[in-house]
Structure formats: structure tokens, C-alpha cells
């Protein structure tokens, strides 16, 4: 069962994961917990209480300088210049042809300082793209890849705010969704962000890698009263899929563009020149050729990434992600199909082990958290 794990990177919380009995798997060059006890139990814990994730593998790239705004407006499809200090936005870096290099979150920390938090698997690609663009445009900005110095601990779920309030003097009510603030959590300097990838309320705590264990332990200990469990990447995947959130490598690739995957709203065509603008404008005008849709199976088979999707007996696309939904109990998938075939209630078939099974297009997201 060993698979060259010796060559994998480890997060500062690796020893904790071992002590907790996590099942560790290779993920994006890191040895990461896929589950501690049960993906289904961990998933339910995030929906009903609070789950704690180690996301220290993710990339944190700091962009700083007088022209940081101009640079990021050019490098990303969104408009980071519209962010106030403490605000964050979901964004993407695209190629000249509009294909997606990575999806990421851009946090504005100061007038001239931003963090770009990207997928671990794409960190090198994002860094290469930013470096090339920085040189191409001669922008007055610097890029610093802080990923290996930075840990990320994420309490996610309806009890996350009450739990975190016990460990910090920050006014968490003032940190709304997609906002962040620097503060001290359990004696450790953190960037406290109200962001996540689970479809629930929750926080992402960025801190110095050397202090990660202290933050993890403090949150775990305080979390006992709040029903906390450590959660692995397995639950993270089913949580984000229920919430209709795309995953790079599945829904998002260099061969897909933001408009196909229902993320056209992220692209700010009117902001001026940026990488991919001409191609994305043409796609927006013509309308995307494909569309990412939600499917719910009407027969007993579980859809999985890569399975063919048929309409009227003809193969028309493929499943990008699929699972048995732990919250809903239904078998759900996201799939890329020709745009003209998309419509809520439309009939499709998913081919599972050479046999077609009936599926119906349903609205995305599959799951939306109850709000008060």
C-alpha cells in the first residue's frame, strides 16, 4: 500500500494527522488526509456542526507594489481594483484563448498588497503565469510565493463562528462572507477569512507554518463543545459538489472557459485590457458552445468523473464530477454538454460500465445552506 510517499511534501500538521489516524493519500504533491474516520460522517459534521480542515497545501502568493492593482487587473479575469481593504473575490487566471489556468481567491490586504490563494496543483502554473506577465507589462509590483511558509486551517460549518469567537478578540460579525481581517487566534497572528469550499459558513485561518500546530490544537480543543471533527479532502470534495462549486481538473481545465461553467459573472470584460479578454469577449458574444449542468440520477447507479453522457442515445458530453450525495441521498453529477441541449428537466443518460442509466437535469447548486 505504499506508493512512493517518501517523495511527497508534508504539511506542518502531518504528525497530528497521523496521531488522529487519518488515511493519508498523495494529493497535488502532498501527503494529505483523505479521511479520518468516515467521509460521510465528516461531511455531515460540516453540514450540522463544524469540521476542521488542514488546507496548508494550498498556494498563497503575495502581490505587492504601487501597481499591484493594475497588475492583477491585467492578470486575472475579475477586477481586484474594485475590492476594498479586507474584501476578497473569487477569480480566475485564464490563457490568451480564454482557457482556465486556475481558479483562485484574491484577498485585498492593503492598498498595495494582495494575496492570491490558488490550488496546490496549479501553484507552479500560476506563479509562472504571474512572473511572465509581470515581466511582459513591466509592472511596479513584486510576487512572493509564501505557500511553504504559510499554513491554512479551516473550521467550516454552522458552529464555526461560535467556536472561533472563543479564541479571538476579533469582531467576527464584522467579517462578512468573502471578507478577511488580520487578528490573533489562540495567541497566534492569523489572517482570518470568511471563505471556504463547503457551501457552509466558515473560516480560513492563514498563519505562519511554524504556528500551525498551535492553531489546530486550540481550535480542536475548543471545538469539542461544538461537535467538531477533523475532516479530510474526501468530505471536502462531496461538500463542494453538493454546493455546485467547480473543482480544477474536473469542471475547470485549460480547455474550458468561464462562460461554459456558469462563471461568466466573474469575468469583467469592461475593465480594460487583460489576459484572455479578446477570446472571452468573443465567447460571451457568441454564447458558450457547452454548458455545465447539474444531473440527478433517476436509476440506481452512481455517476463518476469521466463517464459519458448521452441524449437521445447519442454521446453528447461527459460527467465532470459525481457522487452519492451524503446530505440529499440522491446520486448527483455535474456534466459538460452542448449548450443547446441544456434545460432544467431535460432527460439525459449517464453511461456507467457500458450501460446507460436515466438522469434528469436539475438546478445547480444541489444544496444551499439554510440562512436565517
Amino acid at each position: 500500500m505504499s506508493d512512493g510517499a517518501g517523495t511527497l511534501l508534508r504539511t506542518p500538521l502531518h504528525e497530528r494527522h497521523r496521531e488522529l489516524g487519518a488515511k493519508l493519500v498523495p494529493f497535488a504533491g502532498y501527503e494529505m488526509p483523505v479521511q479520518y474516520t468516515s467521509i460521510i460522517e465528516e461531511h455531515r459534521t460540516v453540514r450540522t456542526a463544524v469540521g476542521l480542515f488542514d488546507l496548508s497545501h494550498m498556494g498563497e502568493i503575495e502581490v505587492r507594489g504601487d501597481e499591484a492593482v493594475a497588475f492583477l487587473r491585467y492578470a486575472l479575469v475579475s477586477d481586484p481594483g474594485a475590492l476594498t481593504i479586507g474584501q476578497a473575490q473569487y477569480s480566475m487566471a485564464c490563457q490568451d484563448d480564454g482557457g482556465i489556468i486556475d481558479d483562485l481567491i484574491c484577498y485585498r490586504l492593503d492598498d498595495d498588497r494582495f494575496w492570491v490563494v490558488c490550488n496546490a496543483s496549479n501553484r507552479a502554473a500560476v506563479m509562472a503565469q504571474l512572473q511572465e506577465l509581470l515581466a511582459r507589462g513591466d509592472f511596479g509590483a513584486t510576487i512572493d510565493d509564501r505557500s511553504e511558509r504559510t499554513a491554512l486551517v479551516a473550521p467550516q460549518g454552522p458552529n464555526a463562528a461560535a467556536l472561533l469567537a472563543e479564541l479571538t478578540d476579533l469582531d467576527l460579525d464584522a467579517i462578512g462572507n468573502y471578507r478577511s481581517a488580520p487578528g490573533v487566534v489562540a495567541g497566534v497572528d492569523c489572517l482570518v477569512a470568511r471563505t471556504g469550499y463547503t457551501g457552509e459558513d466558515g473560516f480560513e485561518l492563514f498563519c505562519d507554518a511554524k504556528r500551525a500546530v498551535a492553531v489546530w490544537r486550540a481550535v480542536s480543543d475548543a471545538g469539542e463543545r461544538h461537535g467538531l471533527r477533523p475532516c479530510g479532502l474526501g468530505a471536502r470534495d462531496t461538500l463542494r459538489l453538493e454546493a455546485g462549486m467547480p473543482l480544477y481538473g474536473n469542471e475547470l481545465t485549460r480547455d474550458t472557459n468561464p462562460f461554459e461553467v456558469n462563471l461568466g459573472r466573474v469575468v469583467k470584460l469592461e475593465k480594460g485590457e487583460f489576459v484572455g479578454r479578446a477570446a472571452l469577449q468573443a465567447i460571451q458574444r457568441a454564447g458558450p458552445a457547452r454548458k455545465l449542468i447539474g444531473l440527478e440520477m433517476r436509476e440506481h447507479a452512481i455517476p463518476r468523473a469521466g463517464y459519458p453522457v448521452r441524449a437521445e442515445g447519442r454521446e453528447v458530453g461527459h460527467v465532470t464530477s459525481g457522487t452519492l450525495s451524503p446530505t440529499l441521498g440522491t446520486k448527483i453529477a455535474m456534466a459538460l454538454v452542448p449548450a443547446e441541449l441544456a434545460g432544467i428537466g431535460n432527460a439525459f443518460e449517464v453511461v456507467v460500465r457500458d450501460r446507460p442509466y436515466r438522469a434528469e437535469q436539475v438546478k445547480l447548486p444541489f444544496y444551499k445552506r439554510p440562512r436565517d
Partner: protein, 125 residues
């Protein structure tokens, strides 16, 4: 980890319990643990012929799809219908309620190619 002595085990982590000419087949606790939460099982059809070490069904956990490999050859005479609604029995009781199928053995000699509990424990250590 120790495994029941009255069973025989394959390298693909299936077990066999032989009673007269029939063999009950399931997956081991080791396999169930490795798979994680089992959420779906595709059972063989009654009357189907299965061959030793060939696929005879599919088991799916939350994350992964895995083939089931028959530890012995024979004809399927019974399947565990309870698994259709409660595949998690394969996690909670892999050597009991979580059994998968019963086959009429076609070659008892194949049993000699399988491991006993001690050998399987060494295999999975």
C-alpha cells in the same frame, strides 16, 4: 490484525467460506477499511458463471469504484439482496451480514491456491 481461521483469502482481499459444495464470498475487513464508506454494490446475477480471479461485481465507496474478483470459480446460486439497500453492511460486518454471493464450486482444487488467516494477516501487514 487477525482473520477468521475457517475462511480462505485471496490477494484481492476477498474471503471464501466453504460448506459442502458451496462457497460464500465476501470482502475482508481490510478491504472494507481501505475502501471507506461503501455506498453501492453491483451484485452478480443468479445463474452467472464466475471464474477464479475474474471480476464478478463492483463495489463503490464515496470516492472510488473497485472491481470484485471471484476467489473461486463456480455458478452463482444466491446473492445478498440486503446489500442493495444497505451496502454499508460490508463495512459494519464484512465477514457476516456483509457477505456478497454464494456459488456452487466447480473446482475445489482452487481452494488450495488461497491463503489461510495467518498468511492473509502477513499479506496485509
Amino acid at each position: 490484525m487477525s482473520y477468521p481461521d475457517d475462511l480462505r483469502y485471496s490477494k484481492e482481499h476477498e474471503w471464501v467460506r466453504v460448506e459442502d459444495s458451496r462457497a460464500t464470498i465476501g470482502i475482508t475487513s481490510f478491504a472494507a477499511e481501505e475502501l471507506g464508506d461503501i455506498v453501492f454494490v453491483e451484485l452478480p446475477e443468479i445463474g452467472a458463471d464466475v471464474s477464479q480471479f475474474a471480476t464478478f461485481g463492483v463495489v463503490e465507496s464515496v470516492k472510488a469504484v473497485s472491481d470484485l474478483y471471484a476467489p473461486v470459480s463456480g455458478t452463482v446460486v444466491e446473492v445478498n439482496e440486503a446489500l442493495r439497500d444497505a451496502p454499508e453492511l460490508m463495512n459494519s460486518d464484512p465477514f457476516g451480514e456483509g457477505w456478497i454471493a454464494r456459488v456452487e464450486l466447480s473446482d475445489r482444487g482452487e481452494l488450495d491456491t488461497l491463503m489461510d488467516g495467518e498468511a492473509y494477516a502477513a499479506e496485509t501487514a
